[in-house]
Each structure stands twice: as C-alpha cells, then as structure tokens.
C-alpha cells in the first residue's frame, strides 16, 4: 500500500514536467479514443487500452478483446512568400496509420496482450523543385511498434501494465542538393536518402487508479526509441559530370538517426448521468531529443549534412465526451490542443507543424453481441503562421527559408471491436 501511494505521488510529480505531440507524431491509435479527442489513458472501453494504458486491460470484462482499425490521414500544406509571390502546395498521399490490439484475461488479476500500431509517420510531398526544394522535395517516414503486454491488478483500485516494444521503421527523404546546382540539361541536382527495416527496442509502463466506480485516473509512459540507420543508401542524381561538382552522381552509404520521442500521458475519466463519460488526457512528448537530423555520408569527400531541428518538449490537452445514445449506438466527440515542438527559426517544411486544434467525432455501433463497428472523423486545424527555417547555409552564410504556412488535416477512420 505504501508502494502504491509512492507510485501515485511520483506519477503526479512527473506529470508536472511531462510532454507529447506535434512533429511527425500521428495520433490515430484507436477509433473510440480518437472520436473522443484521442483521450483514453483513464477510459476502460476496449482493447484500445493496449496503447492508451495497458494497466487498464485487466479491467476489461471479456476473456478476449480485439480492436483493430485503420485511419486515412489526408493532410494539406500550403506555403507562400508574399515578398516574392512564390507559392506551393503539397500533394500528399493518404497516410494510413493502423492498429491491432488483443488482450486475453488469464486470471482475475492478470491479463496479457499484444499490440501493433504506427504512432509515428509522415508523408509530405511538395512539387519537385519548388522554392524550398533545397530543404525537402518529399519525405516518407514510417515506424511500426509491436509490443507484448502484461496487465496486473494489484488491488481493487490499482493496476499496472506495460511491456517491451519492438520498433521497425524506415525513411525515404528527397531534396535538391542546393538552391541552384543543375546538370548539363538544366535539371536540378538531387539527393535521395533511403533507409528501411531499421529496428530498435523500447518499452512502456502504466498504471490505473480507480478510487470510485465512476472515476478513474491513468498514467502511461512510452520510452523514446532512436532509429539508427546504418549504411542506408544516399543517391545523388542530376549532378553535372565534372570533377568541379561538389558531389558525384551515384549511390553512397550514410548513417543517420531519427528519434521517436518518449511520451507521457496522465488523465482521468468520469462517468455521469448513467450514459455519459467525460475524459481528459494530458500528453507530453519529449521532442527535445530531436536536435539535429545529421546525415553522415560514408565517403570522406561528401560533406556531411547537418540539419538542426532543436525541437522542444511539447504538450497536448485532450478532452472527450461519450454518450450511449441507444443500446447499440454510442456517440463520441472531442477536442484537443496540440502544441508544436518546433521552435521559432526552425520551421522546416518537411514537418510544417505549428500549434493545432483537433475536432473529433465518431460512434460505435454494436453489430452483434460480439462485433462492434467503430468510426471516427477528425479535423485538424492549424493557424496560419509566418515562419522560417534559418539553418540552411550557403558558403557559410545562413539563408533563411521564409514564408507563410497554412495546413490542415482530415482523418477518417474505421475499426472493429471484437469481444469473446
């Protein structure tokens, strides 16, 4: 009991300094949670707990719980520079973050689980050779998390959960070599870096406290995972065939590391008036680990590429509401405020994220005793922002890339919940 109290206390201390969101994080790890503003650290609802709070899995009533789904992410970014009249618009393919969660109640106090989800990803495609092409033409970043889980009820009121995470990811990134170099045909010189099947390990741990029947508090922490790409392929093309060129055409190896930052969540849920549930989550993402996208090209003659990012830790505030409208139909709505980890002067067009407001909604429809259909929609609204990236250099001189950005994103997701 003393131990539990200590944990409880420690969690709140941590909460004061916690972080999560923005960057290349895509919050779509469960249609039920997403419909409620992606809250869920203190909501016992479905196997989605495998992501939001494994400690809660032990509270699920059924023996076997499965939740799976996929979300279509349609994001748009527009950029313009009023001084020069230049403009560009991304043509992003639809992102498809997915999740699969399963939990199995072994005993009254022990539940095991397995989850697979894709919390980080980014696909941004600008028109080739656009005004910011020396920074990025396109980027495709994916990471899949696979995690075995244990959920343990320590008392009537308190449970813990967690497990190791196996992460596999890859990145494909294309930009022009600089602002002006072209080959003999006038085509812009280009470099594409590609690394796939980069793996590493992480972990997550959580607890849930249920002081009364209609009130829960949850805490979840997922560790950072640094994906270290070794001997990836960097392909230079459209470089003039000249010994005077800064690089030569062809493929060289490179090393780079890309962090998937740690994320902590604390939150609560409260059921009221029989059919209503309110949930609040606070996330903090420890983005400060993302300091510099350093690309270390293997050959001595190819200068390494330093791309300072200098992200800061950032918070997200999430609010969700659930209403059991009919026996078979549950309605949900939510809102969240997502703070950007990008600091002033570091606004790189490959992750053009400023603060955003998320508006969510959705429902579950119980198709049968065992099957429910879960759906959610999200509208992510970014304020128009004048921003610059000041860390691109030419001849040792900083050449800021400035402009106005306006983004939005729509997420539409479908999932199923199966109970046995």
């Amino acid at each position: 009991m003393i131990m539990k109290k200590l944990l409880f206390f420690a969690a709140f201390l941590l909460a004061a300094s916690v972080t999560y969101a923005g960057g290349y994080r895509v919050s779509a790890q469960g249609q039920r949670a997403l419909a409620m503003g992606h809250t869920g650290v203190a909501v016992v609802n479905s196997a989605e707990l495998a992501f939001f709070n494994p400690a809660g899995l032990v509270y699920l009533e059924n023996k076997l719980n499965i939740s799976a789904g996929v979300t279509g992410v349609m994001s748009n970014v527009k950029w313009q520079n009023v001084e020069s009249g230049q403009f560009a618009e991304t043509d992003n393919p639809i992102g498809t973050p997915f999740y699969f969660y399963a939990s199995y109640k072994v005993t009254d106090f022990l539940t095991v689980g397995l989850s697979a989800y894709s919390p980080y990803g980014s696909t941004v495609e600008y028109p080739t050779d656009w005004a910011g092409s020396h920074l990025v033409n396109n980027i495709d970043l994916q990471a899949i998390y696979i995690q075995p889980l244990v959920s343990l009820r320590l008392s009537e009121y308190f449970s813990i959960g967690g497990g190791p995470i196996y992460v596999t990811g890859g990145v494909n990134f294309n930009r022009n070599v600089n602002r002006t170099l072209t080959d003999e045909q006038g085509d812009r010189s280009n470099v594409e870096i590609d690394a796939s099947n980069v793996t590493n390990w992480g972990w997550s741990a959580s607890w849930m406290f249920t002081p009364t029947e209609n009130f829960r508090i949850g805490f979840n922490y997922r560790s950072e995972v640094i994906l270290e790409a070794e001997n990836g392929d960097a392909t230079f093309s459209n470089v003039p065939n000249s010994p005077l060129s800064p690089v030569q055409n062809g493929t060289v190896n490179f090393d780079a590391s890309l962090p998937m930052p740690a994320e902590m969540t604390v939150g609560l849920s409260y059921s009221f008036l029989d059919k209503w549930l309110f949930a609040f989550d606070y996330n903090r993402a420890y983005w400060s680990v993302y300091n510099d996208l350093m690309i270390d090209f293997a050959p001595e003659g190819v200068p390494d590429s330093s791309n300072p990012r200098n992200y800061k830790n950032a918070s997200t505030y999430r609010f969700g509401l659930q209403y059991e409208a009919l026996d078979q139909l549950t309605l949900r709505a939510g809102y969240y405020l997502d703070e950007s980890p990008v600091q002033s002067g570091y606004f790189a067009p490959e992750t053009p994220r400023n603060d955003s407001h998320g508006f969510t909604g959705g429902f579950s429809y119980q198709l049968s005793k065992r099957f429910a259909l879960d759906a959610s929609v999200t509208y992510l609204r970014f304020n128009e922002v004048d921003a610059s990236y000041d860390f691109y250099t030419e001849n040792g001189q900083s050449v800021p890339f400035e402009g106005t950005y306006k983004s939005n994103a729509f997420l539409a997701g479908l999932g199923v919940t199966f109970n046995l």
């Binding site: 009023v82 000249s242 929609v377």
Partner: protein, 507 residues
Amino acid sequence: MRNYIKYAAVLALGLVACEPEFDESVEDDKVYDQGSADFSNYVAVGNSLTAGYADNALYVSGQKNSYPNILAQQFERVGGGDFTQPLMNDNLGGLLLQGDQIAGNRLTLSVVNGAPAPTPISGTPTTEISNTLTGSFNNMGVPGAKSYHLMAPGYGNVAGVPTGQSNPYFVRFRSSADATVLGDAVAQNPTFFSLWIGNNDVLGYASSGGVGVSQQGNLDPATYGSNDITDTNVFASVYSQEVDALLASASAGVVLNIPNVTSTPYFNTVPVNAIPLDADTTAFLNSQFAAYNTQVLPGLVQFGILSPEEAAMREVVFQQGQNYVTLVDEELTDISQILQAPPFSLDAQTAMMLGQIRQANDSDLIPLPSSSFLGTLVNDDPNLVNGVSVPLGDEHVLTASEQEEVATATAAFNQIIESIAADKGLAFVDANAILDRVATSGISFDGGSITGEFATGGAFSLDGIHLTPRGYAFIANEIIKSINTTYNATIPSVNIGDYSGDPSLGD
C-alpha cells in the same frame, strides 16, 4: 454495414475537397496591384540579353532564366498572361544551317590540364535554324541585333545568313522571310513591352577590339559593317520609331539603357601585363629591340617624323617578371615604309613588325578571348611570341582612344533612351549604373554578394559579357522596381539567390 461505409466514403471525399486557404493568397489578385499598367500581354524586344543568351550561346535553360521570362512569372501575380519563348532545341546551344554548324556550343567550366577553364560543351547541336517555328513569341530577343536591325526587312531570311545579311536566331522564329523583328512584336498587340536595344551598336566595335569604325555622320545603316558604331541620329530615329510602334497597342512599357561594356569582365579579366619573362629571355628580347630603341626612334625624332612623346611611347623594353604586351596601335604614325628606306634599311618583315608597335599601358584593355592567344607562338617559332616579339593585332586590344569612342557613343545613346522614356512616360532602368554598381561595389543577396569578377562573381556568365541567371534575375528585379514606381504597381520581386550565379559545369 454497407450504408456506414458509404457514409464514411462520402464524408471522406467532402473533407478532401476542403483545402486550407490563406487569409490573403498570393494566387488571388488581392495581394498585388498592377497599378496603371496592363500586363496581360507582355512582349519583350531586344537582343541577346533579352533572349537569355549566356555562356556564349543561346540554350534552353538559359532562355528559361531570361529576364523577360522571370518578369512574366512575376507579372502572373498581377494579371499577366502566358509568355512564350522561341526555345532552342537543346542545352548545347550551337546552331545548324542545313546541317552545318554555324554557331558554337555554350561554354562550361571544365578541367583542362588540371585547371578550370571555359570550354565549349561537347556534342552536336540539334537546333536547325531553317526549321522555322510556328506561332508568335512574347520574347522577341534576337542575339546580335542592333537598334536598326529591329526594323530591317529580311533580317530573318535564311538566304541572308551565309552573307551576314540576316540573323540566324531570327530566322528560327520570324513570321515570314521579309518580316521585321519590330513588326512581329507589334503584330502581337502587346499591352506592355520591354525594350533593351543598342548594346550591339557599340559592343561589336568594343568586343572586336575596335576593329570597326564609328559611322557617325553616315545616316545609312545598310552600309555599316558589323563592328561599326552606329550614328547617333540613326539611333535616335530608329529608337523613337520602335517605341512609338510598340506604344500603338501598349499602354505601358519599360526601357533599359546600355551598360558601358568596358565595365564587364570581358574587358577586365585579362591583365595588360600578362607576359611573365625570366632573366635570360628578358635580356635576349631587349637585345633584339636595342637598336630600335636607341637608334631608330631617336633618328625618327631627329627627322621630325615622330614627336619625342610618341617616340617615348613606342619604346619596347622588357624586364624580368610581368611585362606589358606589345601591340599594333593604329593611332601611331606608320613607320613601316620609312624603316625600309635608308638610313634604316630594315628588311620588310622587321619594318612591318615595327610599323605601329608599342607596349600596352594601364589604360589599354584586352578582350577575354585574347587570353588564349597571348603567349602563343607563330609557326612554332620560339622567337615569334604573340604579344611579345610579335605585337598583338588591333582586335586584341581596346586602346584608350577606342574606349573613348565607345564611351562617347554609349553616353549619347543613353541620353536618347532616357529622354524618350521621359517623354513617353515609360519606366526607365539605368542598366549602365546598375551594372557599374555590380562591378565596383557588388550587390548583396541572401546567399552572399554578386560582383563583376569573371566566372566567380555571380553576375556574368562564362563569356564575360552576358549575364548568369542570377544576373538576369537581378536585372528583372530592377525592372520591377522601376515599373512599380512609374505605374504605381506592387509586383513582387524575385529572390535572386534562387537563381544560379555559379558557372555552369561540364565534363
């Protein structure tokens, strides 16, 4: 279940259609103002600088960075329409006439004998000038055109190319064999025009080292040679006719004056004291010229043929280290015949060599292409070194008096241009002052500065006289500035750092 999926699909489609919108988008007409000008049909008239000529050739990627094309992109923000250019067939830049190459490929910086040097890019050009393009072209820049050429019928007649009567670049896109450049421009009913012409009216003379003559007083340009300086009255007359013709449909336009060609790297890269000599060679050369310096020249002064000043100027003395080149100066008294007669009685070859020889001084300029000629041997004879024991011909040196002629003509033409611009209320760009500023103090931009330094300065291409994309972008910005002031417009300028100022590279 099916209904739900349908519902979700419809919802998703609806959401995709809802793109983010700026409060004030540069794509709308609200942000920028065209002022009192109408940019819907812009036609550019001029010479190589208007065509986008660079690196001693016209080629596709150079044309895409021509200042009219850059301007047209900015004009799109204030109602500008499509802008067509008579694009070349390739990025090599040479020209073919009936399959024979009549113009060289563009220059690229290549490594020759371990050092970077401008070299024509290899390959066979594919632009056959007799394949005349169809349609009209907003960019009516014709490389090589002088002021009066724009009004010369038949300037685009292929039959005149071999004799130099017509212009191979205009042959490619003229509307008919007897069309004029100006006529084809006017026929497009421009609402806005730019005119940058007159450079070649002095450039031909200057770049040839003053081989031609000033035609001041000769009012018939049909009799001019290609390296002559145009008569001022002829220039004034054709220039004002051209502006009037363009103003028939256009309500606004911009004119640019003529930069002083002697401030380009074409004339400021090769040093006049380019000849390094060691002690032995110096002694040998001085012994060769000893009799000439100590006997011939004083003798000619004594006979009253040369003034003491001219004799002093004509002394040829070498020293260990860097030496001024020797040259033939047509301004000097020709003594080749006198030297063959007694008392000198020199052989004809020596007398001819000494006829108008002097050593260069700091006021002489050597054109860029002569750098590859200096120090070469005549007939592989180590005693016959060009620029040393063999004086450079007139075409290799622009002397002070020739420079004076160029400057006088340029100033006269520029006065005409500026007064016509003022008279007609046209936007005026002092390209002369602007390029002088590039050459003297440099122009800073977000990635450094551009100067008039050859190859590395960022303003001039590898031919030393035409501009780089960055140089043309800079001109475009100056034009925009002038248009905005004259017509109360707010056209956005380009970021010249987005345009290349580096020499193009090749193998």
